[in-house]
């Protein structure tokens, strides 16, 4: 080793190296091996017992409690969701039922109204046709009466015309026969 007396740094380094070389390297010094093992055993066991008995179970239960709580909450959320879905389905079902019911009611009402309308229409029609029949009967009666009158008048007119033209008094029956014959001829 070259010594450099002008450099204090090198000198200090050399001295330090010399000191180290003289003393036993502490990590290999057996003086305190027993002491180190002894106290290591004590404090390692103390730490082990403290961790094993108190600290680690505490951490374990805390983590497990949290995991359980989260699982419970998730279950509750799933249940709530299922409930909500069931309620939604029930609502839909009720709605559909109500709609069907409304249709039925509407149909029934329409049917009832139709029946009533038909009934009233029939009544009115019957009344009207009765009135019509009565009117027609009256007309026919009047017509028959008028026809009868026309025959009478024609018979009288025929008798009068024969009397006036021929000066022969004609019986009412003969005049009637003549008129009927004429009417029949006209109809034929």
């Amino acid at each position: 080793m070259t010594h450099a007396p002008h450099s204090e740094v090198a000198q200090h380094a050399a001295e330090a190296a010399h000191d180290v070389a003289e003393a036993v390297f502490p990590p290999f010094d057996p003086t305190y091996f027993a002491s180190q093992l002894f106290w290591l055993a004590i404090f390692f066991v103390v730490l082990y017992v403290a961790l094993d008995r108190f600290i680690l179970p505490k951490i374990k239960t805390t983590i497990e409690d949290r995991r359980d709580r989260i699982a419970d909450d998730l279950d509750a959320a799933a249940n709530a969701k299922a409930d909500a879905e069931a309620a939604g389905e029930a609502y839909e079902k009720a709605l559909a039922e109500a709609r069907t019911k409304a249709h039925v009611i509407a149909a029934d009402t329409r049917k009832a109204l139709d029946a009533e309308i038909a009934k009233e229409t029939a009544e009115v029609e019957a009344e009207l046709s009765a009135k019509q029949d009565a009117s027609e009967a009256a007309i026919r009666k009047a017509k028959d009466k008028a026809f009868a009158d026309v025959r009478g008048i024609a018979t009288a007119a025929t008798a009068a015309a024969v009397e006036a033209l021929a000066g022969v008094e004609m019986s009412e029956a003969d005049a009637g026969k003549t008129v009927d014959g004429l009417l029949k001829a006209k109809e034929a």
Binding site: H12, Y32, S35, F43
Partner: protein
């Protein structure tokens, strides 16, 4: 001039001398940091879980995230039946993580005025790795009986190379506690040394070159800054690596048939 020795941070100082069974069991700064690791972890977790709210606050979230992180790690690497080891793996992970993080303090108002990283001492990481290794053996034999030896006889290997494969499996199994412990120890040790070496450069430059040296010291200071961030990453990562390797080894104890 400040002490620039990068090894000083690993020194052990006796706080309360104590001897038993002819052994020096003094309460040292290492013991103090072990106490702090356990105490800070217990206090922080107790405070975080004090409300046990359904909607957690930030502290409770962090506690629950760490819980979930370790539980998922164990479940995904060793299967759901490995959850009986959950408190063990969790304690290992949080103990190493907290120890590494407490070691990141550059200063501590105690003897030597330095913080202490308990995982930077090989004996500690060896103890933790042996704990895992012995747990695997004891539980593996207890649960599987002689079937535990299937661990060394992978299925689907042709008979003529099986002896070599088994030999490799045995060596690999035996070397597990070594690699398991040295990985954590070496990472913490090397990172902290590097950090203190670069921090020491600032002091050396200042002491050697005066004001100009401190101006030049900006360069190692920037390096220290970056390394500190890296060390925080390593502190977490090594705790994670230690825990996940523990899970993989426990998986062998539970399912030795591969």
């Amino acid at each position: 001039m400040a002490d620039t020795n990068p090894i000083k941070q690993f020194e052990i100082h006796e706080l309360v001398p104590f001897e038993a069974f002819g052994l020096n069991l003094a309460f040292t700064n290492s013991s103090l940091f072990m106490f702090l690791t356990a105490a800070v972890t217990i206090v922080l977790f107790t405070l975080a879980m004090s409300s046990r709210a359904l909607v957690p606050n930030r502290a409770q979230s962090v506690a629950e995230i760490i819980y979930g992180f370790v539980a998922d790690m164990l479940r995904s690497t060793a299967g759901p039946d490995a959850l009986r080891f959950f408190p063990f793996v969790f304690t290992l992970f949080i103990f190493i993580l907290m120890a590494n993080m407490l070691g990141m303090f550059p200063y501590f108002p105690g003897p030597g005025l330095h913080s202490f990283t308990i995982t930077s001492h090989l004996i500690v990481t060896v103890a933790l790795a042996m704990l895992v290794w012995l747990t695997v053996i004891v539980y593996g034999v207890f649960k599987n009986g002689p079937k535990f030896l299937k661990l060394f006889v992978p299925s689907g290997v042709p008979g003529y190379i099986l002896p070599f494969v088994s030999l490799i499996e045995v060596i690999s199994f035996i070397s597990r506690p070594i690699s398991h412990s040295v990985r954590l120890f070496a990472n913490m040790l090397a990172g902290h040394i590097l950090l203190k070496v670069f921090a020491g450069f600032i002091v050396m430059l200042g002491a050697g070159l005066g004001v100009g040296g401190y101006v030049l010291g900006i360069a190692p200071f920037a390096m220290t800054l970056g390394l500190t961030a890296l060390e925080f990453l390593v502190a977490f990562l090594q705790a994670y690596v230690f825990a996940i390797l523990t899970c993989i080894y426990l998986s062998d104890a539970l399912h030795p048939g591969h």
